[in-house]
């Protein structure tokens, strides 16, 4: 039982969140709203299946294609600023939501990428995201969009360097963390 819980604690955590949200929805408008929420979630999931499939295949193929030594050399703990900048570029260019870039980041993690590199990848995806740019321009206008990009432009590499410097040594524990 204990090892079962240990292995599946994230599922339990998500389940608890679902129960809390379902309770809030229920107390507001009854079962109808709970049902509607679940249906919307599943609808989004079904709609995103083509994207999810591509994301998982990309992650799998990267792992199969790229040799561990290559990742370690270019994106590993000792790749320094070069690795962090490379990760920022990759993160900024990759399209899709968290169910796309986290499987890819996970593949890089298990292939030997360093912590600063991975944080830089995720942060660049979140802040530079080229694929999001058209939406931002169209919906928020050029002034806010340009100013936002200017202000946050240096953040992904800086955060990568900072995290590597502060916590870089934890990467082995993080890797084991996911393998379990």
């Amino acid at each position: 039982m204990r090892s079962f819980l240990k292995k599946n604690w994230i599922s339990f955590l998500l389940l608890i969140v679902i129960l809390i949200l379902a309770y809030i929805a229920y107390s507001r408008e009854g079962w109808r709203l709970v049902y509607e929420g679940i249906i919307i979630g599943i609808t989004i999931l079904v709609r995103e299946i083509p994207l999810l499939t591509a994301a998982f295949l990309t992650a799998g193929l990267i792992q199969a294609l790229v040799k561990k030594e290559f990742i370690t050399r270019w994106l590993g703990q000792d790749s320094g600023l070069k690795g962090i900048l490379l990760a920022c570029l990759g993160g900024g260019l990759i399209p899709g939501g968290p169910y796309v870039y986290y499987p890819i980041a996970g593949a890089l993690l298990s292939s030997g990428a360093g912590l600063g590199v991975l944080v830089a990848f995720v942060t660049a995806k979140n802040l530079w995201s080229v694929s999001r740019l058209p939406y931002e321009f169209a919906l928020l206008g050029s002034t806010i969009t340009i100013r936002r990009y200017l202000i946050t432009f240096l953040i992904p590499p800086l955060v990568g360097v900072l995290v590597e410097w502060l916590f870089g040594g934890y990467i082995h524990k993080i890797r084991e963390n996911v393998k379990e």
Binding site: I10, L14, V17, I18, A22, A25, R28, V34, E36, G37, I39, I40, G41, I42, T43, I44, L45, E48, P50, L51, L52, A54, F56, L57, T58, G60, L61, Q63, A64, L65, P95, G96, P98, Y99, Y102, P103, A105, G106, A107, L109, L115, V122, T123, N126, L127, S131, R132, Y135, E136, L139, L140, G141, I144, R147, R148, I155, L162, I174, N177, V178
Partner: protein, 161 residues
């Protein structure tokens, strides 16, 4: 079929061609790895999407409008950071909400802090981050990330008032 899906499939097919050139074994290994990741995380992904759906019907947009007013200064930026973390959904869901707030008179600082916080601190994203990256990575990235929206918001106020 949206642009993201098309671009990602182009990437996938390019990788597939490279693997194919390397030999059928590489393709097979890639597909096997993809399948084992899917199997391992399938349930979690379904749960994460159910959370996304429930958050959507609970429409936290009402709360957003109530919290950030014009000229809210540093308080507005801190509220914006909290709200950004709570905003669910992709850019086509979140940007229209932020646009409404800007029209209603939200300052540039809070608006930029809000976009940044939704980008880097989104709590909904964590349900995807945990299974693939583990709790240690998630904790480190998220804690350090807390500084980013504050920095962005204050810099915006400093530069453009």
């Amino acid at each position: 079929m949206n642009t993201s899906t098309i671009v990602l499939w182009i990437i996938t097919l390019t990788l597939f061609l490279f693997s194919w050139k390397k030999g059928a074994d590489t393709v097979k290994k890639g597909a096997q790895l993809a399948w084992s990741t899917t199997k391992k995380n399938g349930l979690l992904i379904i749960l994460a999407f159910i959370i996304a759906g429930l958050v959507t019907v609970l429409s936290p947009e009402d709360l957003v409008t109530a919290w950030i007013g014009p000229n809210s200064g540093w308080r507005g930026i801190i509220s914006a950071e909290f709200l950004g973390a709570l905003l669910p959904g992709g850019p086509y869901v979140v940007f229209p909400i932020i646009a409404i707030l800007v029209q209603a008179g939200a300052g540039l600082g809070p608006a930029i802090a809000l976009i940044t916080s939704w980008s880097t601190q989104s709590l909904l994203t964590i349900s995807f981050e945990l299974p693939f990256m583990g709790w240690r990575f998630t904790a480190i990235r998220w804690m350090i990330g807390l500084l980013i929206p504050l920095f962005a918001g204050f810099t915006a106020i400093l530069l453009w008032g």
